[in-house]
Every structure is written in structure tokens, then in C-alpha cells.
Amino acid sequence: SHMAPARSSSPEASENLLGHKDPPHSQGNTASAPEAQDMLSVHMLRLYEKYSRRGARPGGGNTVRSFRARLEMIDQKAMYFFNLTSMQDSEMILTATFHFYSEPWWPRAREAPCKQRAKNASCRLLPPGLPTRQHLVFHSLSQNTATHGLLRGAMALTPPPKGLWQAKDISPIVKAARRDGELLLSAQLESGEKDPEVSRPNHQAPYILIYANDLAISEPNSVAVTLQRYDPFQAGDTEPGAAPNSSVDPRVRRATQATGPLQDNELPGLDERPAHTSHTQHYHKHELWPSPFRALKPRVGRKDRRKKGQDVFLASSQVLNFDEQTMQKARRK
């Protein structure tokens, strides 16, 4: 058993851990740290500091995995579920411990048959008996079964003298469950009476620590297996080097050929040319442009236009047509 501060914590305690607020040092049971952190986070930070300072291998291995409980009320009983699926196949379990907070509690005090001898005699209650003994019961179930699962173990708990955190070795239970591929574990603190668990705040939720030796950690690039979470090729979900499939590619592919009428610099009406004479004549601009403003003609396809445009350009360079006043100004300038 280890004395631990009863801390109120938000389930996002891991976020606090990531927030890097140094965990308040536990000053024993009564300290309630202003900054909430659950016991699991405090415990894991302590293991990390122990290793970082003294190089003490946690539990003799190179890996410690923690598993938070998920509380469910089944038949008015508090059931804690642990999802152990994140364990890697290369991790050999050395030890598994179940950590839970418990405090002594007595069954409801019974009332003695109360005989009114004197008016003011108050009814006496029997002194409470011994605190209730609790039992810890474990079941394991595979992901998809809805049953209670297979009974994996049960242990009687001696009532603690006062509220404190306790640890139980559940290595055989976890090893057997993993061997059978049942990586969902349920734990129940049974006491036969109405469950006080419901009132238990979640910072006192139990947790499991698994100390393991990761046989793959000496691989040259073991850090990438667990810590490199992104991959340049993962983004498009395509095989490296494969051209992105157009149906997958979210980008809009643009046609190279212009489909609609383009706004170009060609002036309207250029398409019209007087009938082609046997030899190329130099069109004088008046012949070409009988009036300064021309009605817009319906446009022909770009290819024809380009062909025609090219011929006309071949024939003579076009002079823009301006009214007399503009021309006079231009000459003056």
C-alpha cells in the first residue's frame, strides 16, 4: 500500500501531464493539490523521474504501460473496465499491478429495539460491527462479447485502517487473459452491500500498471514504431512513388484546353475578311473598317478564329481605328 494524496482530477489528467505543470509533491493524504492530477499520472511521473535520475529500470524492464479504468454501473454495481489492447506483441509482461483507493466503511448501523424506560431516554444504536470486508473480482472478455466474461480471479481485501491507495499483484490474471487473447479486463470491488462506488470521485478510480520488457526496443529504429505518428506518405494514403489516383486526389484538375469563350485582346469583327483575292492585297484601313463601331459578331470557334486571325495578321498588320478628334490629338502629341 502506498499513502497517496486524495486528489480531485479531471479525466483529462493526461492533458495536465502534457501541460507540464510539475506535479505537486504529495504531502500525505490530506494534501489536496490545487492543480488536479490523478494518482495514475502522479505514479507514472514518479517512475519517470526515478529512471531519469538514477537510471533505475522500472520494474526491471524497459516499458511501463498504464491503463485508466472506465466505470460502468451494471446491475447497480460499479464495474471498472480496462482496455489492454495497446500492448505491443513484442512486450513481454513482467509484472501487472492493480492500484485502487479504499477506505473502511461500516454496514448501516442497526437500531437496537428501543424501549422507552424514561421519557428522555434516547434510543441507543448498536455499536457498528467490524468494517465490511471487500472482495476484488476480475473477469476478462474479448472485444466483442457482451457477457460478463470469464472469471479470472478473486481476492479478499482486508479493510484498511483509513482511506489509502493499495496495490495488488495481478500478473497471473493479466498474463492468462492476454494468452487467451482477451484484452478487456473488468474489475469489481464487491462488498455484498449497496455499492458506495457510485459516490467515488473519478480521481480515485483504480488503474492498472503493466511492467514489461519490449524485446523490439533494441531494433535500430524502435523509437519510430511508437513515437513517429505521422509519415510523409500517410497523408495521401497512396503508396510511396505511386501517382496520386485522380479519383482520390481532392484537387480539381483543370483542363488545359479553354472550353468557354476567352476574353482575349482580339478585337471583335476581325474574323470578317473581304473575299480572298488571288493575291494578297494591302487592305487600307478604311476598306477594312468602314465604320468606327462595329456590331459584335457571333464568335466562331477558337481554332477557326486563330486560323483566320493568323491569315489576317499575315496579310497586314492591323491599325486600330479611332475617331478623327482622337487622331488629331494624337498627331498633336
Partner: protein
């Protein structure tokens, strides 16, 4: 780095997990001194670069120059240290792993 020795030796490098985008799931440490190895392994190699026998032979063959294209030996980490990393796994469970060969203690020619 300019006044770094030419010969193969350990150079300082501090790695900040925020620089490589891992800080979202790494709780501790935020950064660590990783170091790296750089420098020449040319003939004659001083004792300090602790050449292997093969590296010594290779550097002589290269110096003699009879066989073209032989590169000089490489300056690589020799002794390395582990690093404990506290991080969140994909299920946001807190995990502590002690990764070997995460920082350089000494360099050598190989």
C-alpha cells in the same frame, strides 16, 4: 560550429521534440542533449578517434591510393546512452519507455 576540431569528434546537438512535432504526445522530456558525430577520419588517425582495425586498414589503402575510389572511414557514434520517454499512446494511456541509443557518449572512426 566553426571552431570545431577537424578530426572526428562529438558535437553538441539539443533536440526539442516540439521541433519535430512529437511534443503533442510526449510528456517528458521536452528536449534532450542528443549530440552527433562529425569530422575527418583521414590517415594517420589519432588514437582519440578509436579506429577499428578495419578502419585503420581502409584509411591506409586509401592513402596509398593504389585502389581508386576508396572513401575514408566514417565518423560515427561509438558509445551511446538510453533515454526514458513518458508519452501518451494512441489510446491516450500514459506509457514510459526506455529507448536505447538515443544520445551520443563517444564517437569513433568505422
Amino acid at each position: 560550429q566553426w571552431d570545431e576540431p577537424r578530426v572526428c569528434s562529438r558535437r553538441y546537438l539539443k533536440v526539442d521534440f516540439a521541433d519535430i512535432g512529437w511534443n503533442e504526445w510526449i510528456i517528458s522530456p521536452k528536449s534532450f542533449d542528443a549530440y552527433y558525430c562529425a569530422g575527418a577520419c583521414e590517415f594517420p588517425m589519432p588514437k582519440i578517434v578509436r579506429p577499428s582495425n578495419h578502419a585503420t586498414i581502409q584509411s591506409i589503402v586509401r592513402a596509398v591510393g593504389i585502389i581508386p575510389g576508396i572513401p575514408e572511414p566514417c565518423c560515427v557514434p561509438d558509445k551511446m546512452n538510453s533515454l526514458g520517454v513518458l508519452f501518451l499512446d494512441e489510446n491516450r494511456n500514459v506509457v514510459l519507455k526506455v529507448y536505447p541509443n538515443m544520445s551520443v557518449e563517444t564517437c569513433a572512426c568505422r
